[in-house]
């Protein structure tokens, strides 16, 4: 599942960040590293951007950036490794 599709409030874990681009690189530096717990807190009144909780901070991403992060909702069954 993409981070952009993660329902509000549902705990998840970052699985991967789309490879190679400078944007992806920056997302990694911001802490969107595989294995990191993440949660979508709120959407802006106009539906975008979305506020995420990650590593003790609250960070907004636009949908275009949040689409580059794959997450695994913790409630959902595990994918085979």
């Amino acid at each position: 599942m993409k981070l952009a599709e993660l329902p509000l409030g549902e705990p998840a874990v970052v699985e991967a960040v789309e490879d190679g681009s400078p944007v992806a690189h920056r997302l990694l530096d911001l802490g969107f590293v595989p294995g990191t717990p993440v949660r979508a807190l709120r959407r802006a009144p106009l539906g975008d951007p979305t506020l995420y909780e990650l590593r003790g901070t609250q960070l907004c991403l636009r949908r275009s950036e949040a689409r580059r992060v794959a997450v695994r909702p913790l409630a959902a069954p595990r994918h085979p490794a």
Binding site: P22, H25, R26, L27, P34, R42, R55, G56, C60, L61
Partner: protein, 650 residues
């Protein structure tokens, strides 16, 4: 002090909201020098202090979440550290700053800093907040885990700053990490987790106060209403509440001018002092009330944590035109005046978006256009009710506002798609916990902004004012005898260099329907748009600036050869449109120069807006003239009273 011992240079590095600015101020006090790094719009700040008899220079490096630059502006940090920036010596040692409440994230950046291999110490801020939220941290264990000295600081109370000062007195004694943190982000995150584990970090509870406030501030409906209310209040502060202070400055300058005229014999010197120099000084300090109010509110909202939330609320709308949420505040301020508006772009993190915002800010209808609009609309648009209480004059004014805003949106979108195409920077925005900023810090920030305006832009504004005074006053001749005072003033303007420029550019502006008198007004309005009103009053040989008589004079003016009215509906419409677009404001140009650190961008803005103004005026003139030709009698209701009043005047 001798120059024998060179100053120790420290680079201050930290993520936004880590308390870096507070710490910089706590270390260096008021002695900060603010400038720009060459070639980029990034602000450069250096401060000095003395530690144990040694001179210490603190370089406040731009706040960042990563040391891997993905834009030329971000590359500044790396270039300063490598000593590649001309006349900025690289720092001897680094002071890294981390917020204790988000240590897990901060360490990702600190890991990159440690990899630079420079002597480094870590300052941990917000420890009071960490404890208040039930968290804890062992600083000694953190120091052992990182391999570098660690100091805890509560910057706004000055706690721990003395310890830090002692530490930076002797960077040669700092311990170095035995093993550097990993290079790639994924392993570095693992390293950060192991460090927080060894430092016995107990993560703080979520900030209850912030969560409670955000339930309202970020609520889809309440948050939007609050945003609107804050923006209305903000606009009101800049637009209306600065007005009394600005009027007081005008009155005070007028009084000083009067005193100078009374004290000195009439002549060139007194003219220069009163109309050149004092008027120039006045046109600089008249901005101070707006700038002080703007930056007090701006820094207060920023430091409280609201600005990031406002950007979050409005980001989607601004994203449509390729800008980001924070540009909204700058563009809104520009409705009062582009000078504070352009200065407000400092809160926009992406330099490219900041530049686009600066370039379109002059299109927002500033208050200096209002006197011009009021004169022309009052003189030439009939005060006819269109629908209910809504009059034609008001609709035309609204149309001019909308035209400016629409042009700004189109220009921003075009600039983002062409000249300033995306820098590949992702959009991200941290919402910091709400924090009440210490008043002293706020006052220092506001004072710093005002001082920078006075020194960088004020000098240019003053210089251009004096140049324009020269253009309007030389060559000085003696008007022929028998002229009234007003006619003599008109004679002097027509003889002046500006008058000759007005005549000289007449062929160029004739296609817009403008004659030489409007030409002189346009030259003079470079000082500030509203100056055209006073200049026209002078040209029409009016003893006073009473708007009624100026309106009548404009309506009565006839082309001496053809006898046709000078101000036809087509000309008036073209002139109004010209003022919507043209960047006739040296203060805006001076501030653009100061904020972008080059003449390139003000020159570009002046050029593109002039081209736009010319093209749009030309099209408007043609369109209205063509439409007017098909509507005989269009000017009749206007021309008739004008003629009557002209006869009364003549």
């Amino acid at each position: 002090m001798s120059d024998a011992a060179p100053a120790l240079r420290f680079g201050l590095l930290g993520s936004p909201n880590s308390g870096k600015t507070t710490l910089f101020n706590a270390l260096t006090g008021l002695r900060a020098r603010v400038g720009n790094y060459p070639g980029v719009t990034v602000e450069r700040r250096e401060g000095e202090t003395e530690v144990e008899g040694r001179r210490v220079v603190v370089i406040d490096l731009p706040g960042s979440y990563s040391l891997d630059p993905i834009s030329p502006d971000e590359a500044v940090v790396a270039r300063v550290l490598a000593g590649e920036v001309a006349d900025v010596a690289p720092p001897d040692a680094l002071v890294a700053i981390a917020d204790a409440c988000s240590l897990g994230r901060s360490l990702l950046f600190i890991g990159q800093v440690l990899r630079l291999g420079r002597p480094t110490c870590l300052v941990v801020t917000m420890l009071d907040e960490l404890h208040a939220r039930g968290g804890s941290l062992d600083l000694e264990a953190l120091s052992a885990a990182l391999g570098v000295p660690v100091v805890g600081v509560v910057g706004h109370r000055g706690l721990g700053v003395d310890g830090l000062r002692r530490l930076i007195g002797r960077p040669e004694t700092w311990s170095r990490p035995v093993v550097l943190p990993p290079a790639d982000a994924v392993s570095r995150a693992g390293w950060a987790d192991s460090v927080t584990g060894r430092a016995l970090l107990r993560a703080p509870r979520p900030d209850g106060r912030t969560a409670r406030v955000d339930r309202v501030v970020l609520h889809p409906l309440l948050g939007t209403l609050l945003f609107a209310a804050v923006m209305v209040l903000f606009f009101q502060l800049i637009f209306a509440w600065a007005e009394p202070a600005m009027n007081a400055i005008d009155v005070a300058i007028g009084a000083v001018q009067g005193a100078v005229r009374a004290a000195l014999p009439a002549g060139l010197l007194v003219d220069f002092l009163a109309d050149g120099l004092l008027a120039g000084v006045g046109s600089v300090i008249v901005f101070l009330p707006q700038i002080l109010i703007l930056f007090t509110v701006l820094y207060l909202l920023e430091d409280l944590g609201y600005m990031a939330r406002a950007a979050f609320v409005v980001d989607r709308a601004m994203g449509r035109i390729g800008l980001e949420g924070r540009a909204f505040v700058a563009l809104l301020s520009s409705y009062a005046c582009a000078v504070p508006g352009i200065m407000a772009t400092r809160t926009i993190p992406s330099p490219r978006n900041r530049l686009v915002t600066i370039l379109v800010a002059p299109l927002m209808t500033c208050s200096a256009r209002l006197p011009v609009y009021a004169l022309l609309i009052g003189a030439f648009v009939p005060a006819r009710k269109v629908w209910g209480p809504i009059g034609l004059q008001g609709l035309v004014l609204l149309g001019l506002y909308l035209l400016g805003a629409g042009a700004a949106i189109v220009a921003a979108a075009l600039l983002k798609r062409t000249l300033l195409r995306g820098e590949g920077l992702p959009f991200y925005l941290e919402l910091p916990p709400y924090r009440v900023p210490p008043l002293r810090l706020l006052a220092r920030q506001v004072w710093g902004a005002a001082r920078a305006f006075l020194r960088r832009a004020g000098t240019i504004i003053l210089g251009v004012s004096v140049v324009l005074w020269v253009l309007l006053s030389f060559p000085r001749g003696t008007p022929p005898a028998g002229l009234s005072e007003g006619e003599a003033a008109r004679w002097r303007v027509e003889q002046s260099i500006a008058g000759r420029i007005g005549h000289g550019i007449e062929p160029a502006i004739a296609p817009l329907g403008f004659d030489w008198k409007i030409g002189v007004g346009l030259v003079a309005s470079l000082a500030a748009r509203e100056v055209i009103v006073a200049t026209l009053a002078q040209i029409y040989a009016l003893a006073d600036e009473d708007e009624g008589s100026l309106r009548a004079a404009l309506r009565a003016d006839r082309d001496p050869r053809t006898g046709a009215p000078v101000f036809t509906p087509a000309t008036v419409a073209a002139l109004l449109v010209f003022f919507v677009f043209a960047l006739q404001c040296m203060s805006t140009l001076a501030v653009m120069r100061r904020e972008t650190n080059s003449w390139r961008w003000p020159a570009f803005a002046f050029g593109y807006l002039l081209a736009l103004a010319y093209g749009a005026s030309f099209a408007t003139h043609r369109l209205v003239a063509w439409w007017g030709a098909s509507q005989p009698g269009l000017c009749e209701p206007l021309a008739t009273p004008a003629r009557r009043r002209a006869a009364a005047l003549g």
